[in-house]
């Protein structure tokens, strides 16, 4: 490499590292704001502002969903397995909403600690599988958390059984 090219390469590398450091520091300073939602622990510790539109997220606690028979009112608990957040919502829930599912709720934290949601968004995890495999796993008594670990094991076994 000629000295000019070498010098050019050094200048570029230094410029890029400086840009990377600047962006890294910016993101580090903004780290709390880049998070899409507050977790129930953060809300319990008082990190979230009251009566201002915020987002909270976690798992819908199994057995906590109660629907009003006469209206679209629904109440459920969002948990991160450490703290719980009681959520009240009026409206249509997304298809993926179910107990044990991750959700993000948009709304305001009320003075008495419960959360009034204007919007409920469903999260889903990175695991995909055919319905038959999911059903087989559930029948076998595995929880959704172990689904993927077992999916590869149960899938071929089911196929073998279908063949015979």
């Amino acid at each position: 490499m000629t000295p000019t090219r070498k010098r050019k390469l050094y200048v570029i590398v230094i410029l890029l590292s400086l840009a990377a450091v600047a962006i890294g520091l910016t993101l580090y300073a903004l780290r709390a704001n880049i998070n899409l939602f507050f977790s129930p622990v953060q809300i319990a510790q008082g990190e979230a502002p009251m009566e201002r539109s915020i987002r909270a997220g976690g798992m819908v606690k199994p057995g906590s969903v109660s629907r009003d028979a006469e209206s679209l009112n629904v109440a459920f608990t969002v948990t991160d397995y450490v703290d719980d957040l009681h959520v009240e919502y009026q409206g249509i829930l997304p298809d993926l909403f179910r107990e044990g599912q991750g959700v993000v709720v948009v709304g305001e934290l009320q003075g008495d600690g419960h959360f009034r949601a204007d919007k409920v968004l469903a999260r889903h995890d990175e695991n995909y599988m055919p319905p038959e495999v999911a059903q087989a796993l559930e029948d076998a008594g595995y929880s959704p958390a172990d689904f993927q670990a077992k999916a590869d094991e149960v899938g071929p076994r089911r196929e073998n059984r279908d063949d015979t």
């Binding site: 090219r5 050019k8 890029l16 968004l121 995890d125 995909y128 038959e132």
Partner: protein
């Protein structure tokens, strides 16, 4: 090895090589995309939670892969152009930029369409979606910067610098789902562990990814060839080529 690199830097040689490579890339792209689309949309199983809307993955993931890798290729070509002054690298970078922008748009659009039935919203300002939108703006910036100078060489240099600085966004996109709480789920594919889906689902996806890459390579070769003809129009060999084709 060095000989090959020097040859690749020669527009004439690249023009001849790409002529032989191009039909193979188009053939592979057509075959893989056709197989992958049919397999993914018809024969692959539906998801246990999302049903058939899961099939958007067969367009969304390949487009998102390509959107990010094209930017890295473009930045790499920019570095080669800036340091070693190889004009072939700049022609390739110029040819790639609009393709990368298009792929980013496809990834964002298919993601929005997928978000409506699964999440309940088509857009949310979470870290993954926002950093991907920034990637689209970076692509547009690189394309615009290239055209903003009266002298082609100045535009090429400015575009190369922006591409290299913008490449910092790529790891941010990749790790955004791990560093922050996002609505977007973490990656289903990692280099270290098994895919988070059975073979019947990821094999057609792999075929689609390969098909998208072949399609991109074929289109880049085509666009680079026309870029070579445009920039080298004054040279002897291009003029002979034009005369022969008449």
């Amino acid at each position: 090895m060095w000989g090959l690199i020097h040859k690749l830097g020669s527009p004439k040689w690249f023009y001849q090589l790409s002529a032989t490579l191009q039909p193979w890339c188009w053939g592979a792209a057509a075959l893989l995309l056709l197989t992958g689309t049919l397999w993914g949309l018809v024969f692959a199983p539906a998801d246990y939670q999302q049903g058939n809307s899961f099939r958007i993955i067969y367009v969304h993931v390949p487009a998102a892969f390509l959107a990010q890798s094209v930017f890295v290729f473009m930045a790499g070509a920019g570095l080669i152009h800036l340091v070693w002054k190889i004009k072939m690298a700049d022609m390739a970078a110029a040819a790639m930029a609009p393709l990368g922008a298009a792929m980013t748009f496809v990834a964002l659009f298919s993601g929005a369409v997928w978000g409506v039935p699964t999440w309940g919203t088509w857009w949310i300002w979470d870290a993954r979606l926002t950093s991907m939108l920034i990637l689209l703006f970076l692509y547009i910036g690189v394309i615009a910067l290239r055209g903003a100078f009266a002298r082609r060489d100045s535009g090429a240099r400015a575009a190369s610098v922006l591409a290299m600085v913008g490449v910092i966004n790529i790891p941010i996109i990749k790790y955004s789902v791990d560093w922050w709480y996002t609505l977007h789920q973490p990656a289903s594919f990692t280099l270290t562990s098994r895919p988070a889906m059975p073979v019947s689902m990821w094999l057609p996806l792999l075929i689609m990814v390969a098909g998208f890459y072949c399609f991109f390579i074929a289109l880049t070769l085509m666009r680079t060839r026309s870029e070579i003809l445009r920039r080298e129009a004054h040279t002897q060999w291009v003029q002979t080529l034009v005369k022969e084709s008449r």
